[in-house]
Amino acid sequence: MIFKQFDSTDIVAGRTQPVSTGLWSDGESVWSSFYTSSRQTQQSSSLFEPLNGLYYTNVYDAPTGSSSSDIYFSIAYGHYAGSGSSAFDVNSSQGSLLFPTKVIYNQYRNLLLSPGDDKFTFATSSLSGSVTNADDIYAISFRNAKYKDKLDPGQFEMTLSGSGVGGIATSVTIIDDSRDNPDTGVQSGGKRYNLLQGTLVSGSLATRNYQGIGLMYPDLGIIILNAKKVHELIGKVDGYSLYWNTASEWGTNFSRMSNVLFTAINKGAALSSMKARITEYVPARHFFVRVKNQEYNYSNNPTFVISDNDNPSNSQDIGKLRFTDFYTNPKVYITTVGLYNDNNDLVAVAKLSQPLLKDFTNECLVRIKIDV
């Protein structure tokens, strides 16, 4: 007998296994430098198409010319009334009147807020119901292929850096409040956590000391920042306000609000790496291969027996077990387990890390996991 049927109790199916890993390349959980594509961030061209940064800016983990470069998240700026859309777009004689910042604000509102809730609100203190409305937001949307099934709450940290007040650079490090507030309710955008100042190592600066900074939607891989509050904390970034202050800041340039936050993120990451972990739920089946003591103690391996090539002194020895020790106590060494369907097709194979001794005096239990 070379095939053995699985019993029904040998197969465990229908289980999903959470697999947690770092968000960034090669499973790293920290990343310190980010890049954008110049095709998407130019500020003076009249090139006019969505990929040209009209709605969002894609952020890469490596220079875009690099073969390893990949988009990890995008940054979009949204304004309740459409302010901050580029001067080119709102020029009624030349533009297309797309109002991209209004589009952004409304699409995230539709996705994340309850019907009838017109504006994003952010908690401003530990007191229930103490909130502030925001006319302008930043949305950091992690790419689905990167965050898999969810961003891990309690594992996200981001530092933002600006020019501060009076020219003194200021930075702020934010985390989610899942440690202080683990039983957050499920909102229309799924689970939602508030962002507050703190670090993963030390926790929040003060428990539930919300300042209206932002929100995290881990199941959707979305971070919403209150643009005006972030501006209050870190000041301008390279001369630009983080919220829509005045069109004169931009002069003849396209307004590229998402670029401003990107600069704050990139400068902040240089001070303290952005940290994030993710979870993927992998459906898996487990097969228990139970090899009893009486089973599988002989091998069809040609070296297991004496062959012509061994030039035996007695030709009748050909085909006999190679060692007389094996007559009473044969030993084989398992290296491979093959799984077969009912048509005896070999559909999956598992390799042991080292040969496993099997003889009449021992039994083996091998658990095989298949992610399907």
Binding site: Q5, K369, D371
Partner: protein
């Protein structure tokens, strides 16, 4: 006092090409059975006279590095482990009535292949015969009732797999291809569906005045 070893070996399985093909086509693998193999092991490295004692007899074998899993199912589990009664002194060996098949393309008789296993085995599930190139002729299995499964991986590679013919039976007939225009060589492999052992012989269908392709 030491701790009892209650270790369960846990390994990840890799789908073969056939497995992925079935998964894509049917949405499931329908795994029903398993087999074990020791493809990497060279038992000649077992040293029953090792000067340092019995703990060292199989040291070289136990330290043999194991390959990662291939995805080509035809190259895996070549040497399967088999369950036999305790005390046997030889592994069931499959033999055929002939060591080769050489026939002319116009041969009108039958080339009958009757595998046997010593000691007696493979009487229920029979044998799988694989003609490596079906252009050489036709292999026909006989005398095996109500067995529709027991296809054995053929070990002959993807390219050959597309040209091979597989048949099940307790005995086989080979009919040469009379339409051949050039002498053609192939191999016939017969595998025991219970014991797992195999034997391979050359096959040549001769076309007068031509050489083998």
């Amino acid at each position: 006092m030491a701790y009892i070893n209650n270790e369960i070996i846990t390994v990840d399985a890799v789908l073969t090409k056939k497995g992925r093909e079935l998964l894509a086509a049917n949405g499931g693998l329908n795994i029903k059975s398993y087999a074990l193999a020791d493809d990497e092991i060279d038992y000649r490295l077992y040293q029953p006279n090792h000067p340092q004692g019995s703990a060292y007899y199989d040291l070289a074998i136990r330290n043999t590095p194991v390959f990662e899993a291939f995805t080509d199912e035809t190259q895996l589990l070549k040497y399967k482990l088999v369950t036999l009664p305790s005390g046997v002194t030889s592994i069931p060996v499959i033999s055929l009535g002939q060591s080769a098949i050489y026939v002319d393309k116009d041969y009108k008789g039958e080339v009958v292949i009757v595998p046997s296993t010593n000691p007696v085995y493979n009487t229920t599930l029979g044998y799988t015969a694989i003609l490596s190139n079906k252009s050489a002729g036709t292999i026909i299995g006989e005398q095996l009732q109500n067995v529709t499964t027991a296809t054995i991986p053929t070990f002959i590679g993807d390219v050959s797999s597309t040209t091979a013919q597989v048949s099940l039976g307790l005995r086989f007939r080979f009919v040469p291809n009379s339409a051949l225009t050039q002498t053609l060589s192939a191999t016939l492999t017969v595998i025991g569906n219970e014991s797992g052992g195999s034997v391979t012989i050359p096959v040549s269908v001769n076309v007068k005045g031509t050489t083998s392709s």
